[in-house]
Point group: C2
DNA sequence: CTGAAAGCGCTAACAT
DNA sequence: ATGTTAGCGCTTTCAG
């Protein structure tokens, strides 16, 4: 079955190719009669305009590129799905790449997106450094950064992480916890920096000392690393009053490690995660978590990007207010326990 | 920053455009000297060949299209991520669309993929009917169907659902359960049909009567629907010995509904899910599940697709053997309980 | 080994 | 209101 082109339609309808093109693009100056003819021909032939050719001829591609570290991570998965759905509403397609947290892959991905002539990009960089490295590349093509790992001078949509971490930490302090351990995140991540900032502010304000366990390696499985750290900790008999985990997935790993060591939350320690991903709400998990409003973030990012694509100028920045979803992994520490 | 084209490179290197093209494509008949020149020029200009133009000129797009019902579903999310990773290894990009289980969206998606000139497609259809409807469309472009909702005469990669369901049901029977309820799935889904087949075979073999609760509506949230069914059931005081849930996500909903009604697994009933998704392994869930080897499925599908793209003929079919992952949502029913 | 020229499918002035 | 004519950036015979 050969590809059906605009010529075929033109031939069948007995008009010129431009006329067909005009009909396809809703050009006003077309007689109703010919429009019918053409439409009928399209129908008969199952004609679908070739996006490549169209793009080449100067129209946009109606495609937006999404670059994320790992779309199987529920957090990104939600973001991507929301974005895809929102983009589809506006007639945009989405092309997706995972960088697996590798700055080199990230750079390649951005280049390939450009080669693909995406009309715009949604990027969640590995780190501000990696973002700045390829920041110049898009040259003109609109770009919104997702999450917090971006350098200065660019448009972004991010959750207010500092505030989220601060409020979570305050909550733990109010519950009477004093030895509060922040666990997880990769050194160099701005998200991490922001969350640590909120955490530290709370610690300082309450006269407590920060206790931070952060991954220094730049590649490899962060979750596994964190799980191992937690295990080691419990094995050594060290149990904080509470954990502020870098993410829900990490919180779950910590809880897992704890179970193995015969401990559990909230009995032996309280724990809060970040992101409020899908399974945190399961009664069996009931993880108290700082919610990032992923769906809203996905939509906002696409909306902003589309604004830019359609001529919007200037840098935009959306700071989404996080929300502490209280469930059942934290409990009040009684005075005598301290 | 203007787009840099092959002319710019040609000009800088002092050669013709064809020569640049040859270098870019690793054509053998090129003197080392000119190759160096050209490569240097590319480097200097940050030249990246335009994928659109290249596609238009007859080369493939090195893009594969993925059409799934819902990529935020952990099952598809895993599949997509595996596929994306595998495709990337071979230098292929991936473009993704969610159909949200709407046959019309599905058809549109397939058409758009064709318009995008994808070199091949991975499709997880809503139902065999919807697949057959657009089955003719791809006309020549290679296509692998994922999962079980495909009609006859097409290449596919699927898990052996019948066997999986059969073995799961047998396991429940061995545990001493007799009132075993199959809950979930959408009428018309072939996956459902296959699972039911396995379930029924086991029931019949053991002289038990099937008890099936299946969603008849063709759109809308399946998970919510199932949750509601389970709630209604518990509210009415009906509690099976065991559930065979259509999927893990549905199993979790059932468990949730149970908790609300003051019941829990495996105390009050046993339950097995399908898919062994990410969170089923969490100790807090510990859901016994029929594992679908999603990662392997993703890779196999891409591999087969690439074989086809590179000239492979004929229909392929991979039936992946499922595996029952025993965790802690099932228990032996004591004789006196019967 | 390299260049010139034709064309992939479509759009966008410019004519008519 | 419609047809004509150039390209868009690249590959690919076909000559040299």
């Amino acid at each position: 079955m050969k590809r059906v082109t605009i010529r075929d339609v033109a031939a069948l309808a007995g008009v010129s190719r431009s006329t067909v093109s005009r009909v396809m693009n809703g050009h006003p100056a077309i007689s109703d009669e010919t429009r019918q003819m053409v439409l009928a021909a399209c129908e008969a032939l199952h004609y679908v305009p070739d996006v490549m050719a169209r793009a080449l001829a100067g129209q946009g591609t109606h495609t937006i590129g999404i670059v994320v570290p790992d779309s199987s991570n529920p957090y990104f998965s939600a973001l991507c799905t929301a974005a895809e759905a929102c983009a589809a509403e506006y007639g945009y397609r989405v092309i997706l790449t995972n960088t697996l947290h590798d700055p080199e892959d990230e750079r390649d991905a951005v280049e390939r997106m450009i080669a693909q002539r995406v009309d715009g990009m949604l990027i969640s960089a590995c780190s501000p450094a990696s973002q700045e490295e390829h920041g110049a590349l898009p040259g003109g093509i609109p770009c919104i950064y997702w999450g917090n790992n971006h350098g200065p001078h660019c448009s972004f949509v991010e959750a207010d992480n500092t505030r989220g971490a601060y409020e979570a930490a305050q909550y733990l302090v109010c519950l009477g916890h004093r030895k509060i351990c922040f666990l997880g995140g990769r050194q160099g991540s701005r998200t991490l920096a922001l969350r640590l900032e909120g955490y530290r502010r709370s610690m300082t304000q309450n006269g407590l000392s920060p206790w931070e366990i952060v991954c220094q390696e730049q590649t490899g499985g962060l979750k596994d690393w964190c799980g191992a750290q937690a295990s080691a900790m419990f094995q050594a008999g060290i149990v904080p009053d509470a954990f502020l985990a870098y993410s829900d997935t990490i919180a779950v790993r910590i809880i897992e490690a704890a179970e193995t060591a015969g401990l559990s939350a909230p009995k032996d320690f309280s724990i809060i995660g970040f992101d409020n991903i899908l399974f945190s709400r399961l009664p069996q998990i009931g993880l108290t978590s700082v919610s990032q409003k992923k769906f809203e973030a996905g939509r906002t990012a696409v909306t902003r990007l589309l604004e830019k694509i359609n001529g919007g100028q200037g840098e935009t920045s959306d700071l989404l207010k996080p929300e502490l979803i209280v469930r059942s992994t934290c409990r009040k520490r009684k005075a005598k326990e301290r």
